[in-house]
């Protein structure tokens, strides 16, 4: 259990750092989602399943969907960014 907990906490730190260093917004949102999922597992380990359900539904689900919609509204999703990177 101790190793599993350490593994999850390390995952949190890795997610937090990789969010700041990603160039693409879409990737950042997906990493944010995974952060919330790891966090909900940690809530279960800390014996608060109420928070785990809320974190999984709100943090990983609804908030990320709202982020996706906002990104689409401001034309932040680049469909063929690989090609652009090749050209530039």
């Amino acid at each position: 259990m101790k190793t599993f907990e350490t593994f999850l906490l390390l995952g949190l730190i890795i997610c937090a750092f990789s969010v700041t260093f990603t160039k693409r917004m879409l990737t950042a949102i997906v990493i944010y989602m995974s952060y919330s999922l790891i966090m909900s597992v940690i809530w279960v380990i800390l014996q608060s399943p109420d928070l785990a359900i809320t974190e999984a539904a709100v943090g990983a689900g609804v908030t990320s969907i709202l982020f996706f919609v906002t990104l689409k509204k401001i034309n932040g999703v680049k469909e063929n960014s690989d090609n652009e990177q090749d050209q530039g």
């Binding site: 608060s48 399943p49 109420d50 359900i53 809320t54 539904a57 609804v62 709202l66 919609v69 509204k73």
Partner: protein, 321 residues
Amino acid sequence: MSRIRDNYENSRAAKFEAWLRGDYDPMSEGMEISVPKTDGSDDEIDPRAGLVISDALYDRHTNKALKRSGYVYRVLSVVLCLVMISVLLWMVQFLPKFGQPDNPANNEVSARYIEKGVEETGAVNFVTGMILDYRAFDTFGESCVLFIATICVQILLRIDKDDMTPATFRRRKESETDRLLEPKNDIILQRVSVVLVPFLFIFGIYIILNGHLSPGGGFSGGAVIGAGLILYLCSFGYKQTERFFTIRTFRIVSLVALITYCLAKSYSFYTGANHLESHIPLGTPGNILSSGLILVLNICVGSVVACTMYAFYTLFRKGDF
């Protein structure tokens, strides 16, 4: 006297008169950005079309001031971040150790919650008993905050159907094209949501109704139901959801839930403060119909949260229900 007469154009009285007539705005004088006047003719023009920013402004090799300030900002942000991190870490070592019996959190309040919680609230799940009975006033504030948040999003993003000004017209058109671009009748999404959505609804209702018995409660269950509604909307489109969920439904459900919560809790606060008997049976702890008002309050909070989640999504997507 004559000098004052000459300067009448710039005097306060003249400005006030012009403001009354509507051709002078005192707010726009001191501002660097002035609002361009629109005259109904530019319905088709993209709002970003006239805005041309030369690349030299953001080019660090030509714009020396930007280069310098960029370095300063970077160094300052790193220093500020490190200072914040070190202050927080420094404060953490003054916190009491985790799980010690003489921690300040283990005072008479939590002792009373644990010893008399089931007896006084009738809820087997302590957390719900605390949230919706001892501290129900906080939860009422949270529900109101959610409702106010929805109203603010409506103020910012809602598109009025009767409003025919060019800006609204453009936004409506934008949201319509946004809806046209989405993948409609996606077979994978539809098949998955046909299986998933009923289970999501039932799971959410289960969490809400069992809030006083098992982990969960109004907020979590409402969020699960809201997520199910959003999934259904994503896969089947607005026409299908508008058969059972419109802005009218949102209004009625939110209003009824908030008023029920308010009245129920006011009653128990009134009786509690005046040392009266509340006459609400607590029932046997462990049954579904137990723990007095907590079940009703859970249902209220859950419906408000579910409606709010769905309202957020639709307002972000198309600015309307």
